[in-house]
């Protein structure tokens, strides 16, 4: 099978890359576009490390074929914020000392960011379920909860 052209929007910029028909969106982002922030922890949608926003909704990018993203908008951790201009969630994760090994962190942040867009004032339980699709083996989640809770307040505060 010949390679196909994937045209979509990635991190607010138009993107056009050649992908194999069997490439997942995660493959396309990591191997064809050099966006290695999303991680592959399982390849079967169980760990959440590959979470990106697809038209604003959090998805496991390892479960979507790349060509299914044609014409859609994708946001990866690289498009959430950058060193020096961190998203409030990223800033809170740094200040709360959340990252240890760091491998799950991009996925957790994308899940949390999507949660706060949909629900700017989540309860503790809503946050716990909001990131329940993201496995972390280092932190025990406690500091993540604190950071997301604080960022939720900060985000809502900025809007008002």
């Amino acid at each position: 099978m010949a390679k196909q052209v994937l045209s979509c929007t990635v991190n607010d910029e138009p993107a056009e890359v050649l992908v194999q028909p069997w490439d997942t969106l995660l493959d396309a982002l990591r191997e064809r576009m050099g966006l290695t922030g999303p991680k592959e922890g399982c390849g079967t949608g169980d760990c959440g490390a590959c979470t990106v926003h697809f038209d604003g909704k959090p998805i496991a990018s390892c479960l979507l074929l790349a060509m299914q993203a044609r014409g859609h908008s994708v946001r990866t951790i690289e498009g959430l914020g950058r060193p020096g201009a961190l998203h409030p969630l990223q800033d809170a994760f740094v200040r709360h000392g959340v990252p240890q090994c760091g491998f799950c962190i991009p996925g957790v942040l994308m899940a949390a960011a999507a949660l706060l867009t949909e629900n700017p004032r989540p309860t503790e339980e809503e946050i716990r379920y909001g990131i329940a699709g993201n496995l972390c083996r280092c932190t025990g989640y406690t500091k993540m909860l604190a950071a997301i809770t604080e960022a939720a307040g900060a985000t809502a505060g900025r809007r008002s």
């Binding site: 069997w22 290695t36 991680k39 922890g41 240890q100 760091g102 991009p106 993201n134 083996r137 025990g140």
Partner: protein, 770 residues
């Protein structure tokens, strides 16, 4: 080594929750793991793995795979002359020769232009197997006549045992008895056990069982290999110890160590599973054969089926006490299932079982047993959670049986500093009493009767606690500290920083030298440039490398002061470092900046030596570290479901170098411990094939399963630790299984002895009233 440097003012160094400087890169996806590297000309590797746990390889035909366009190499064991038929360790079993001994064992390797081509090539390799009988259960495998796992009798591999533990100080013996699958045996005895049991008034006998579990790091094993034209190999590795990786690869491939450079990339979790070499040798061979960079990344399924999990541990335990609580005798038999290759830390199990409490008479036997499963490796405090589950559950039951307070009972019999452990070594200074006392003061413990009484809606409430710990690892290590021409400090070690140890080491350097942390930069060097540095394992990164960094910084400070003394024509004893200047005490306005001392060390024609502090200590004194945990739970007796309402971790860290990072260690370790307690198990069928090879079926705890983990830090200084610090990483994974089992008994009255404490097990136990 515990000396605190005198600085004339408090610098920003140890004791503060300083943020990791690499955290912004971690939260923006900028840090690089091995799988993120994509050099020009990269090839992708895949391994063909055996579907059978035990089989003879009759024939392998790779011709169709080699003919596939885009395939650059297809290798079998026959193509790699250095491979030995009898692989002494798992790392040496690069590709199977003639026989496979576990399902998932690599049989052939492919390198191709694209991963999909490599995967397709695997389907084109024809292997004819003759399936052989399988040893799937350790208790069966121990018996004479069981299907043999090692071909020529078994060889003990105690290197892991030595690594961790020297920890134990017990020698284990290689065993080549008729029971061919018993690969190590150990025995610890004291007193007259038979007589003591005869005089005992309360005897309790139970069998505890903890299944194989996976370390569960989120980043699967990954390595990138590339050779230069002069025959030097570079490995970009996800490893807990780059020098260890170098040694193992050199040994397997018969290469000089100085021809291999291991670059430790960001490591996405290890927990003991990334100490030993696994996929590095085959990737190096593929890179050499193809003359291209080759990257190999394990899939999650491969990780679960053919990683290096923790052993299954089965402990038969019998205890005898007097009705007044006097301990009489302990008898235990610990069976550690090691999979297809030897390597369990048998001695540690024995020592933990008989050394935590003062048993005047004991007889502890340990057996390492081989089965046709993937061989095991360390997992955060190897075998401590399993053995503490047994001994602490037993102590709780004894206290209940004789009607005494369980905390007082433990405190009464806990071995103290100077008491003889089972291996006759004295216990070193530790905070076991302090953490247990502290957790018993917690309101959740004091109000356990109220919590139990508040049970409603048919649910049952209970509280449980447990005490566990780790003896502390040791390994020689090295560090250098340089003064730069602008007065900043440069710290270099080979320490792989997984959990935030580099910021703690930088804090130690700051305090020992006498500058603020923002003047210190720390680098993890590769094996070509860094001083020899030990593993990031054994709760010893800060305890040992911290000493090296502290001493190197002290040396750099002394060199700095000597240079300043000459420049200022003052005595070294009158000098101090303040605000990035060396000043003369009591003489205002007389001083020299660190920058000018640094500059003089790098000036053309200068006669001032550059400041270079070095330290390369070896160690002989461990620092045991203890942790107590408390669980407040609710059990649904109909479904067996456990809801965790509160969980408390109290841990002695000696001196909290960076409290924020330590809390993270305590919380993460506790949740791994809870996973072992409640949900995790690698499940095998009777053909020794894994039946749950995905993260959907190998159930780790999620944020929705847990409450916040409360942490309480206790500081009882370790006499030889840097500024009194002890190891932090391992103790928190130890106590939860016993704490949860104790809480379940408090809630329901049933005692469970097999992990995980799953809803099914709990509901069945309640239904049968056992």
């Amino acid at each position: 080594m515990s000396s605190v440097m005198k600085t004339t003012r408090d610098v920003k160094g140890i004791g503060l929750s300083i943020l990791r400087p690499d955290a912004p890169d971690k939260v923006t996806g900028q840090v690089q793991y091995v799988a993120d590297l994509n050099p020009r000309g990269l090839l992708h590797a895949k391994l063909l793995r055996s579907p059978h746990a035990h089989a003879k390889i009759v024939r392998i035909d790779v011709s169709r795979a080699r003919a596939l366009p885009g395939v650059r190499a297809v290798l079998t064991a026959a193509d790699i002359p250095v491979l030995k038929k009898k692989a002494p360790t798992r790392a040496h079993a690069v590709l199977a020769i003639d026989r496979v001994v576990f399902a998932g064992q690599p049989v052939a390797a492919v390198a191709a232009d694209e991963l999909a081509i490599a995967e397709e090539a695997l389907d084109l390799i024809d292997v004819q197997y003759e399936v052989l009988p399988v040893a799937a259960d350790p208790l069966e495998s121990m018996k004479p006549g069981a299907p043999p796992v090692a071909e020529l009798g078994t060889e003990a591999d105690t290197s892991e045992a030595l690594a961790h533990g020297s920890v134990a100080g017990v020698t284990t013996e290689a065993k080549s008895a008729k029971a061919v699958n018993i690969s190590q045996q150990a025995r610890l005895q004291r007193g007259d056990v038979a007589k003591a049991f005869a005089e005992s008034e309360v005897v309790i006998e139970k069998t505890y069982r903890v299944p194989m579990v996976h370390q569960g790091y989120l980043e699967p094993h990954a390595v990138l290999a590339q050779w230069d034209s002069a025959g030097n190999l570079t490995l970009w590795a996800s490893t807990q110890g780059s020098f260890n990786t170098r040694s193992e690869v050199a040994d397997v491939l018969e290469l000089p160590e100085n021809r291999i450079k291991v670059i430790p990339m960001e490591c996405g979790g290890g927990f003991g599973g990334k100490i030993r070499a696994l996929c590095e040798p085959i990737t190096a061979v593929l890179a050499r054969v193809t003359g291209r960079p080759v990257r190999y990344v394990m899939t999650r399924r491969e990780e679960l089926e053919a990683g290096m999990p923790a052993p299954q541990v089965i402990i038969k335990m019998k205890t005898g006490v007097k009705r007044d609580g006097t301990l009489m005798a302990l008898e235990a038999e610990a069976i550690l299932e090691s999979g297809a290759y030897s390597g369990a830390v048998l001695a540690v199990a024995g020592v933990f079982l008989a050394s935590l409490y003062l048993w005047p008479n004991f007889d502890v036997k340990g057996f390492e047993v081989l089965t046709h499963k993937p061989s095991i490796a360390a997992y955060r405090a190897p075998v401590a959670p399993q053995t503490i589950f047994a001994i602490d559950s037993q102590m709780e039951q004894i206290a209940k049986a004789i009607g005494v307070d369980p905390v007082e009972f433990r405190l009464r019999h806990l071995q103290r500093e100077g008491d003889k452990m089972a291996n006759n070594q004295p216990w070193l200074s530790n905070g076991a009493v302090e953490v247990l006392t502290r957790i018993a003061e917690h309101p959740l413990w004091k109000k356990r009767a109220e919590w139990k009484a508040s049970s409603k809606d048919g649910k049952l409430r209970g509280t449980g606690l447990s005490l566990g710990g780790w003896l502390g690892g040791l390994q020689p290590t090295g560090a250098t500290v340089r003064l730069n021409p602008d007065g900043t400090l440069q710290v270099l070690t080979g320490q792989v920083d997984i959990a935030g140890t580099n910021i703690a080491l930088a804090q130690i350097a700051a305090t020992a030298y006498g500058v603020d942390i923002d003047k210190v930069k720390i680098t993890t060097g590769d094996t070509d440039v860094a001083p020899m540095t030990g593993l990031s394992a054994g709760s010893k990164s800060t305890y040992t490398v911290g000493v090296a960094v502290m001493q190197a910084a002290e040396s750099a400070r002394n060199q700095t002061l000597e240079i300043a003394a000459k420049e200022l024509e003052a005595s070294v004893h009158d000098l101090a470092i303040e605000d990035e200047k060396v000043v003369v005490r009591g003489v205002p306005n007389k001083g020299i900046t660190l920058a000018s001392i640094g500059k003089k060390g790098n000036l053309y024609m200068s006669k001032v030596e550059p400041v270079l502090g070095t330290s390369h200590p070896a160690f002989s004194v461990q620092a045991p570290a203890f942790c107590a945990q408390l669980a407040r739970i609710e059990v649904d007796p109909d479904t067996g479901e456990v809801t965790l309402h509160n969980f408390v971790v109290v841990q002695d860290v000696g001196k909290a170098i960076n409290p924020l990072q330590i809390e993270g260690q305590m919380q993460g370790g506790a949740v791994q411990s809870l996973g072992m307690a409640l949900t995790e198990a690698l499940l095998y069928d009777d053909k020794a094939r894994l039946t749950n090879p995905s993260l959907l079926d190998y159930r780790k705890l999620t944020s929705a399963d847990l409450p916040n983990i409360e942490t309480i830090i206790v500081e009882k200084p370790a006499p030889h630790g840097p500024f009194g610090a002890r190891g932090v990483g391992e103790p928190p994974i130890v106590p939860a299984p016993a704490a949860i089992a104790n809480a379940i008994e408090d809630a329901t009255g049933v005692r469970l002895t097999h992990l995980p404490l799953s809803p099914e097990r709990i509901a069945l136990a309640i239904a049968s009233g056992s």
